[in-house]
């Protein structure tokens, strides 16, 4: 009996949902004001995020073929499945309908190369959903972006798989005449890859080249360096923006598709413009200064903006509501922080890509940012911020 009693005491505050009125039940509902409410709900927000991710998904499928679809499908099925199972195991009510697990799954998939084996996708999904989110109590309680937790864990655990990217499909008009189907399937490519339209050889992302060029001292020829072997003309910035001939993870190809998605979210007031703008702006400024100081050893800012996972990170990872600051000022601080860290890691760190790490680190700073950017309430004298309780 005492066990039962304890359970009652531990119960978190939960609502008493009003049931449909029957003759025995009182018909009137009493609740706190206000009695009007916006139509926007968690479910609708997540639905819009999924819709905003669709162009980038389609672009990924276009450039990497069915392999991309496979990775996206595994992640976006596995994440909700893990959420369902862990909710069961924790005896929590099932919140699958809010669609946040699907968003996490899609974002995780976007962060993986199309050659990722299925079991790595599953491990990533497990880490993202269970370790990244559910053990904290589900949506809203996690301090770190679940998809990024999954991705970074995979990056550290399977560095080779996570940094081996297949060549994307390029339009026929751009193909070089010689480098066609002669290419021998590389050992790391899976059999399915050969069957698909994707060129089976693996290649480095443009960022890898920027890293390599630092030691060689030839950052001026970056574009031609990172042009896939089977393409005749060197890569242009426009191509990089559209995603043509640019290898990388699924979501790292088409900047245009990502931009379309994020503009939709900004228009719907789901994403604050402050974070992506400050993030990209800071990266551009810092890499720009480095470039002006030494154009031979550093890539130019445009190259930095368009390469790697920066756009995906800035548009969809750094704008996750749960793990970013609440206020507008906080969002600006967060974006600038992400930008500084990404630029530093890219320019001076040992990883070619800094977006994931820098967003995770800034996630950790979020509670501090919230505390120190809390606005002055209306009518409050200046210099009276949030006091700390010991």
């Amino acid at each position: 009996m005492s066990e039962e009693v304890k359970n009652t005491a531990a119960a978190a505050p939960a609502p008493m949902p009003a049931k449909p009125a029957s003759s025995a039940e009182p018909a009137l509902i009493v609740s706190s004001s206000p009695h009007f409410h916006t139509k926007s709900t968690v479910d609708s927000i997540m639905r819009w995020v999924v819709i905003a991710l669709l162009p980038a998904c389609l672009a990924a499928i276009y450039f990497f073929g069915l392999e991309a679809l496979r990775v996206l499908a595994i992640c976006s099925i596995a994440c909700p499945a893990f959420e369902y199972l862990s909710a069961k195991a924790m005896r929590k009510s099932n919140e699958l309908h809010d669609g946040s697990a699907l968003v996490t799954g899609l974002l995780l998939g976007m962060n993986l190369p199309s050659t990722t084996p299925w079991w790595i996708c599953l491990i990533g999904s497990f880490i993202a959903i269970v370790v990244g989110k559910m053990i904290y109590g589900g949506l809203g309680c996690n301090p770190f972006n679940p998809a990024l937790v999954g991705r970074v864990a995979l990056l550290l655990a399977f560095p080779v798989v996570m940094t081996t990217w297949p060549m994307p499909r390029i339009p026929a008009s751009l193909k070089a005449d010689s480098a066609l189907t002669e290419v021998v399937p590389a050992s790391s490519a899976t059999p399915q890859a050969t069957a698909s339209a994707v060129m089976p050889a693996t290649t480095a992302t443009p960022l890898k080249f920027s890293k390599g060029s630092r030691t060689h001292g030839s950052a001026r020829n970056l574009l031609s360096d990172c042009t896939p072997a089977h393409q005749k003309a060197p890569l242009t910035y426009m191509q990089m923006f559209l995603g043509i001939g640019k290898s990388g993870s699924l979501g790292e190809t088409s900047g245009l598709a990502l931009l379309l998605g994020v503009i939709l979210l900004i228009c719907l007031n789901i994403v604050r413009w402050h974070i992506p703008v400050c993030y990209l702006g800071t990266v551009a400024i810092i890499t720009g200064i480095a470039w002006i100081c030494s154009p031979d050893s550093y890539a130019n800012p445009l190259f930095h903006l368009l390469s790697g996972g920066l756009l995906l990170g800035a548009f969809f990872m750094a704008t996750d509501m749960v793990t970013t600051p609440l206020s507008r000022t906080g969002a600006i601080v967060f974006g600038v922080g992400c930008g500084i860290l990404t630029a530093c890691i890219r320019l001076w760190g040992s990883y070619p890509e800094g977006a994931s790490f820098s967003i995770l680190i800034m996630n950790a700073f979020t509670p501090l940012i919230d505390r120190y950017t809390a606005g002055r309430p209306f009518g409050m004298p200046k210099k009276k911020g949030i006091k700390m309780t010991a």
């Binding site: 531990a10 978190a12 924790m90 005896r91 929590k92 370790v131 990244g132 053990i135 904290y136 109590g137 589900g138 309680c141 301090p143 770190f144 937790v149 970074v152 864990a153 550290l156 860290l341 530093c344 890691i345 001076w348 760190g349 040992s350 990883y351 800094g354 994931s356 790490f357 820098s358 995770l360 680190i361 996630n363 950790a364 700073f365 509670p367 501090l368 505390r371 700390m388 309780t389 010991a390």
Partner: protein
């Protein structure tokens, strides 16, 4: 000058004592319950480590090296650090009662905080000079304080989360520390 900057950046971010070297975990978990005590503890550790770095370096270079007894460094350093912490404790009890109570048992535990000793020994191993040891120790302590501050603010938020009963408290804290350490791995190579 440049080497000092990269030393400082390296100590604070890349080779963060707590998050990448896994030193000083005891106070990291024990005193990170609230941001206020974390700030106090961070300050105390910076103070202790700066002084300890200076004195141990003095002892090392002026006493141990000339008499060729560098194998004694561990035991002598322990002695010196214990003394410094004792003095700090007395001072804190006198001048900041609230902080003294908030730090509680973790204050004397700075004595056994492997971060302090670790920093001192690392300095002697790397044969840093007096200034460099002091900078190294202070920067390492700043890295410790930074990790403590970030982590305490996350923990304050976790206190309000709704984890399953089995994971509430320390289990969740440890997992979160792991994730934070994972994020800090992104700094590797920076400052070299």
């Amino acid at each position: 000058m440049g080497s000092y900057i990269s030393l400082i950046v390296g100590c604070i971010l890349v080779n963060n004592f707590v998050l990448t070297q896994i030193l000083g975990i005891c106070p990291f978990l024990g005193v990170s319950k609230s941001t206020k005590t974390a700030l106090g503890m961070g300050g105390a550790v910076i103070f202790v480590m700066a002084i300890a770095g200076f004195f141990t370096s003095c002892i090392y270079h002026l006493l141990l090296v000339p008499y060729k007894v560098t194998y004694l460094s561990t035991i002598v350093f322990i002695l010196a650090i214990a003394g410094i912490v004792q003095i700090l404790e007395i001072l804190l009890q006198k001048f900041s009662k609230a902080l003294y109570q908030a730090l509680g048992i973790y204050l004397p535990l700075i004595t056994t905080n492997c971060a302090v000793l670790g920093a001192a020994i690392l300095c002697s191993q790397k044969d840093y000079g007096l200034l460099k040891s002091t900078v190294f120790c202070t920067a390492s302590a700043a890295g410790f304080a930074l990790a403590l501050l970030i982590f305490s603010s996350i923990r304050e938020r976790l206190e309000l989360a709704r984890p399953p009963m089995a994971l509430k408290g320390l289990p969740l804290t440890l997992i979160t520390a792991g994730l934070l350490a994972m994020a800090f791995m992104g700094f590797s190579g920076l400052g070299n």
